[in-house]
Symmetry: C2
DNA sequence: ATTCATAATAGGAACTATTCCTAATATAAA
DNA sequence: TTTATATTAGGAATAGTTCCTATTATGAAT
């Protein structure tokens, strides 16, 4: 059968994807919610979460999780690394080659099948370095 | 034990560290709480969390965060990779060389200072593969 | 040993991110 | 138009973690 005319792209789902792309720098679900609200005022948080989950399964987005509890989303789906600021939680891309997990042997993974890898560096972003300096802190 | 208790290592803090070591395989705060309870019945969740935070700062433990929301803790503090099962959340060590971030240039990190890296592979552990097969699923 | 200042505690409330539930609505196919 | 089903908004529920507070334990100084 050819293209099944199902509801593959509801307005809300498209709004979620668009919002993520327009924000462009690893937004959280909350960021995406407010951005999508600009298009569809009535959109709800659960709709955002549900569609984010769907878009991740469809490989339109990748989730990034680091030391913070929030999940960030990236519409750039090629294999690359991220760095997250320990202070403010901000996430940025890194210009270092991503880990290639295609060569990982089953034995290396102690019985696991491997389907992905998430490389997240941690550190302090420029803004937060400045703030720390200003306060003369060091903890 | 009869060693003089100092402020630096309260009974509870030591119980938290011991529990993590005895569990040995990347326990969550909850796992550690119940294990530590075997030593100190009255220990509370907040004491576990507070001491886990302290132990991480003191570099006695490292926190592991992956696709799931829970933080796992590792008492093996040398640089190594982990793999987490998408289905059950289990974490295991990986026999692949860890990413060496000592050569990361500031320019690569777009103004960030880099202080660590977390490499977490994702996949499905043997147990969960079996369960999936049993159910005849494939998603 | 008693007093004192303070570090650490237990317990629980509060918080945050996320998931779940349900009745209502929108959509495509018949 | 009718029907079956996907999707929705809204809010309740959950899970993991942090925060708050009165109380207790500790080491130092008397």
């Amino acid at each position: 059968m050819e293209t099944k005319p199902t509801r593959r792209g509801s307005k809300q789902k498209m709004a979620v994807l668009d919002a993520t792309k327009r924000l462009s720098n690893h937004p959280t679900a909350e960021d995406i919610f407010f951005k999508a609200k600009e298009e569809i005022v009535s959109i709800s948080f659960s709709t955002v979460y549900r569609n984010l989950g769907i878009l991740v399964k469809e490989k339109e987005l990748i989730p990034i999780s680091g030391p913070g509890s929030e999940i960030h989303y990236d519409h750039v789906i090629n294999n690359h690394c991220h760095i997250q600021c320990r202070v403010c939680g901000k996430v940025r891309d890194m210009n270092v080659p991503a880990v290639d997990f295609s060569g990982i042997l089953p034995s290396d993974a102690s019985g696991f099948t491997v389907d992905g890898v998430c490389v997240t560096f941690t550190g302090t972003c420029r803004d937060c370095q400045v703030e720390t300096d200003t306060k003369g802190e060091q903890k």
